[in-house]
């Protein structure tokens, strides 16, 4: 059963059709890239999958169950996590707290136990703290644990976004332009990180990117969008040679 399946998904804004009858299938553990010129509808697809928009028509299936039109939070709790194109960290909160918040969605504490500081609450707080720090270690951010998220350098902020998404214990990860603004060294590190996440956690990863080195370097399947419709799907080598893709996007590189 595929992890994610979009079936004739269409998204219209007023008279504008951003995504047109899109079919997309991602198998478990697959590294899937979504590329296309600006305005092609990539982020819209993201937003439809993660519940920011309800599709005008068509269906979105996560592990066989329909999630089209559900609210963001619910979709996240089902197991799909995402990062944002424009970094959306909790700026005033510490790096550690940013991750803890994401962990919290799986916790059972309520307000009453928090106010009364029951032993159960304390144990859980300790556990969340430990696991968050572990996660930060994996992402090499533990030394910045108590820093305000907004003070972090750009590359670290991007890594934190991914770490935070991972804290929701997802079974599928959606990364929205994770390499944006990164220098070649950082993007190579990112590629290793993404590959590592897939290998270690076995989850499917959907990537929207403009950085071709990253996309062609790690994605097993590349899906090309233009004006809301698919113009090509296939392994990187094939996509790079596809004349339609070259004309619309790659420009004969």
């Amino acid at each position: 059963m595929p992890s994610l399946q979009l079936s004739r998904v269409t998204m219209e804004f007023g008279g504008l059709c951003a995504v047109n009858a899109l079919d997309l299938t991602i198998e478990p553990g697959h590294l899937y890239g979504l590329i296309g010129p600006n305005g092609a509808g990539k982020t819209t697809v993201f937003n439809v999958i993660t519940g920011v928009y309800a599709p005008t028509s068509g269906d979105v299936l996560f592990e066989g169950a329909s999630i089209a039109g559900e609210r963001c939070g619910r979709i996240t709790r089902r197991g799909i996590a995402r990062t944002f194109q424009n970094i959306r960290l909790f700026g005033e909160m510490s790096v550690l707290d940013n991750v803890k918040v994401a962990f919290d969605c799986r916790q059972a504490t309520t307000l009453t136990t928090a106010v009364l500081r029951t032993p159960a609450h304390r144990t859980e707080e300790e556990r969340v703290g430990r696991e968050s720090l572990e996660l930060l270690k994996i992402f090499k951010l533990d030394h910045l644990a108590n820093e305000r998220a907004k003070n972090l350098p750009y590359g670290s902020q991007r890594r934190l976004e991914i770490a935070r998404a991972m804290a929701t214990a997802p079974r599928m990860l959606l990364l929205d332009e994770p390499a944006a603004g990164m220098n070649p060294h950082e993007s190579t590190e990112l590629m290793d990180l993404i590959r590592w996440i897939r290998d270690r956690f076995g989850m499917a990863i959907l990537l929207v990117e403009h950085n071709m080195k990253v996309v062609m370097g790690i994605c097993e399947t590349v899906h090309v969008l233009d004006y809301g419709s698919t113009i090509a799907i296939g392994p990187p080598a094939q996509i790079q040679r596809d004349p339609k893709v070259i004309e619309a996007y790659l420009g004969g590189a």
Partner: protein, 298 residues
């Protein structure tokens, strides 16, 4: 039936005043995303300026010319006041958080109210009549000349405003700024100037409302801005804050429903009706009747 029509006319008259004030709220919100709490107090100052001007021009016979002079004088004075408020209090905090702007506006409002109490004295003053007062009767209804004046003048001002916003370059610039301040700047529009113009216009309209109301209910006091300001604000939100036709529609609706409720139900709920309508609208249609939905880009 005649009572209903009578109430309707009363409502339109009151509603026109709300509309004039509401326009100021809506225009300022449109360009600055600021709820200008001090606006109701500008309206109050307009009434007072009108009061002092009419005392100055005191003639034996009230005449149309003096009425016009009073109105214009008040509008100009308040336009200047509005620009001053914007320059001194709002511009320094323009880039700050919304709550900061809100608090500043509250501060300005309190300041104006209390200075007015000091300078004008807290007791209400009585506005001399400016125009000959006649009643018109037909079909069992009674229209006072004041009501007709209110409706006529309001209509004229609103038409002029619409023309200004739609047909002139400054008006276009105002609309551009209300869509996006930054984009307007990039297009070479002097946003500071446009914002000042917006404040000036809004304040002038509020002043006209103040004079018109003072003509009808010939009493002015330093705190009169609060009830009118609040209801006009509700009217602006009802119509869709940021939308000029919305402010007019909202004002007329609030005015009419208020008169109807007082006429047909009871006067004790008069003040609650405006808020009741407001809450209903915000829950069912938050962008107001004619407002735009602001979708945040993710």
């Amino acid at each position: 039936m005649t009572t209903f029509l009578q109430q309707l006319v009363n409502g339109l008259s009151l509603g026109s005043i709300y509309a004039l004030i509401a326009l100021g709220y809506t225009m300022v919100y449109g360009v600055l995303r600021l709820i200008n709490f001090a606006h109701g107090d500008v309206y109050m100052v307009g009434a007072y300026v009108g009061y002092y001007l009419s005392r100055l021009l005191q003639r034996k016979e009230p005449s149309l010319a003096s009425a016009l002079l009073v109105m214009l004088g008040s509008m100009i004075a308040c336009a200047l006041l509005g620009v001053l408020i914007e320059r001194l209090a709002y511009r320094p905090v323009r880039k700050e958080a919304r709550l900061t702007l809100l608090i500043t506006a509250i501060g300005v409002s309190l300041f104006i109210e209390n200075v007015a109490q000091l300078v004008f004295g807290p007791d209400p003053k009585f506005f001399p009549s400016l125009a000959p007062r006649t009643d018109f009767r037909f079909g069992g209804m009674r229209l006072t000349s004041e009501q007709i004046t209110v409706i006529a003048v309001s209509l004229l001002l609103m038409v002029l405003l619409r023309f200004f916003i739609m047909k002139t370059r400054t008006g276009k610039a105002m609309r551009a700024v209300s869509f996006s301040l930054d984009a307007a700047k990039l297009m070479g529009i002097s946003t500071d100037w446009i914002i000042s113009v917006t404040f000036a216009l809004g304040s002038a309209l509020a002043a006209s409302g103040g004079v018109l109301i003072a003509m009808q209910i010939p009493k002015v006091d330093p705190l009169m801005g609060i009830p009118y300001g609040l209801k006009a604000f509700v009217a602006a939100v009802l119509g869709g804050i940021g939308s000029v036709p919305g402010a007019v529609l909202g004002g007329l609706l609030i005015g009419t429903s208020e008169v109807m409720v007082v006429g047909y139900l009871s006067s004790t709920y008069r003040d609650a009706i405006a808020f009741g309508i407001l809450i209903l609208v915000l829950i069912l249609r938050p962008q107001g009747l004619l407002g735009r939905v602001h979708k945040e880009k993710v």
